[in-house]
């Protein structure tokens, strides 16, 4: 039972609790660069997830065979191999998308998110858990990129996934499609989530305090609790 719980945990922690972009501030280059539109964000996240899952799988399989001194070099080699595969396949099957993402596909190699997961998780855990962890991290990355791309696309070109969602009356904010817009949007989104977290914590603290106070008012309960 507890094994199942921890397996679920391996997956879900990447979604939000340890979200690569919002919480760990990893993988910033692709996050900021390609999120001009939601579809680009999705494509980038899927490509990254593919590389992440397969390199996690291979690395956790052979983790005991690799001498520690060449650990990082071997990881990078494996990651670069999968990135090249993604790049070639995308160029062959989805030329438009591959053009839109341009040089940021090869740059998945140096996405700190991927190397970070190998170092922190796959090199220490079995295949099953590593793949789950990679899937979770990838899903969290997808969520973040979709959010960022969505906001920028709606405000910057009135559309979401190519469909017009804001009326023509609304004058698109060009800044959203420019590099500056990427920084500003991500900064504001982060601040928003921080704010929610802070509010939640304050509320929790207040609730605990309340409980504490009310229990003090009735001293007949047990002593030595605090």
């Amino acid at each position: 039972m507890s094994k199942n719980v921890s397996a679920v945990k391996d997956f879900t922690k990447g979604l939000w609790e340890q979200n690569a972009v919002f919480k760990q501030v990893l993988g910033m280059c692709p996050t900021l660069a390609v999120t001009v539109s939601a579809i680009n964000g999705i494509a980038m996240a899927l490509a990254t997830t593919f590389v992440l899952v397969f390199s996690s799988m291979i690395i956790s399989l052979i983790r005991k065979l690799i001498p520690t001194q060449v650990r990082i070099a071997s990881y990078i080699l494996i990651i670069a191999t999968f990135v090249t595969i993604v790049d070639l396949v995308m160029k062959a099957l989805f030329p438009e998308l591959s053009k839109a993402l341009g040089p940021y596909i090869p740059l998945i190699v140096v996405n700190c998110l991927i190397l970070g997961r190998q170092e922190a998780f796959s090199s220490k855990n079995g295949v099953f858990r590593s793949v789950l962890d990679a899937l979770g991290m990838g899903a969290g990355f997808l969520l973040a990129l979709f959010m960022l791309g969505g906001v920028r696309e709606i405000l910057g070109s009135r559309t979401l996934l190519g469909f017009q969602v804001l009326p023509n009356l609304y004058e698109p904010w060009l800044v959203m499609i420019l590099p500056a817009g990427a920084f500003l949007t991500l900064g504001l989104l982060m601040a928003y989530f921080n704010n929610r977290e802070i509010n939640k914590k304050t509320k929790q603290r207040e609730a605990i305090l309340q409980k504490h106070l009310s229990s003090k008012q009735s001293p007949a309960v047990e002593g030595g609790e605090a």
Binding site: A80, L107, V109, V110, P179
Partner: protein, 192 residues
């Protein structure tokens, strides 16, 4: 003249950090103190210049003649990783003070996307060998400039009363956004 324009274009107009989003990790991670930011910038510039030389040679002398272009990413990243290692050993031997200043930043450079990005851009834009070197120098200078400005601002920010939700990465990103807007003013100045 052409070379100087390539240098300026990479350093200012198409700044790696603020226009291409390359090297954001150290830009946010190592920009809290001006002195360490400058050191990081120097170390990166150094590695960038050497990278542009070595990867150009590998691509044009080995990969193209043997039709191995598909090994581009694998070979570039390996070269960069070993280069960084080598530079670290070299600096350690030659100059202890320099090593103390740059040492801790060097391993970080391997996963700095700006380096691999630089190598890829040089191939993509079909620069010649000399142009590539100047492009590398310019990109390094641009990175140093961006990260130093950022660190300067952040040192001031420490004294400011930043609202709680914005503290940390959020305010850094917003400052970066404003910097990117300011750098847009340079666009069109040179077209290379």
């Amino acid at each position: 003249m052409e070379l100087f324009l390539i240098f300026l274009s990479a350093a200012i107009v198409n700044n790696f950090v603020l226009a291409y989003f390359l090297g954001i990790c150290p830009f946010i991670g190592v920009s809290s103190k001006l002195s360490s930011a400058v050191s990081m910038g120097m170390a990166t510039t150094f590695v960038m210049t050497i990278t542009s030389i070595v990867t150009w040679l590998i691509y044009h002398m080995i990969l193209i003649p043997f039709n191995l272009e598909f090994l581009q990413y694998v070979s570039f990243i390996l070269v960069i990783a070993s280069l960084v290692q080598f530079v670290e050993m070299f600096i350690k031997k030659v100059s202890q003070p320099l090593y103390r200043a740059l040492g801790i930043f060097l391993p970080l450079i391997t996963t700095n996307c700006a380096i691999l990005g630089l190598a890829l851009f040089i191939i993509l834009r079909e620069y010649t060998f000399i142009e590539g070197i100047f492009y590398g120098l310019g990109a390094g200078a641009g990175f140093t400039l961006a990260i130093s400005i950022m660190a300067g601002i952040r040192e001031e920010l420490d004294l400011a009363d930043v609202p709680k939700p914005f503290q940390g990465a959020a305010i850094t990103l917003i400052v970066a956004g404003i910097l990117a807007l300011a750098f847009m003013g340079f666009s069109g100045m040179i077209s290379v």
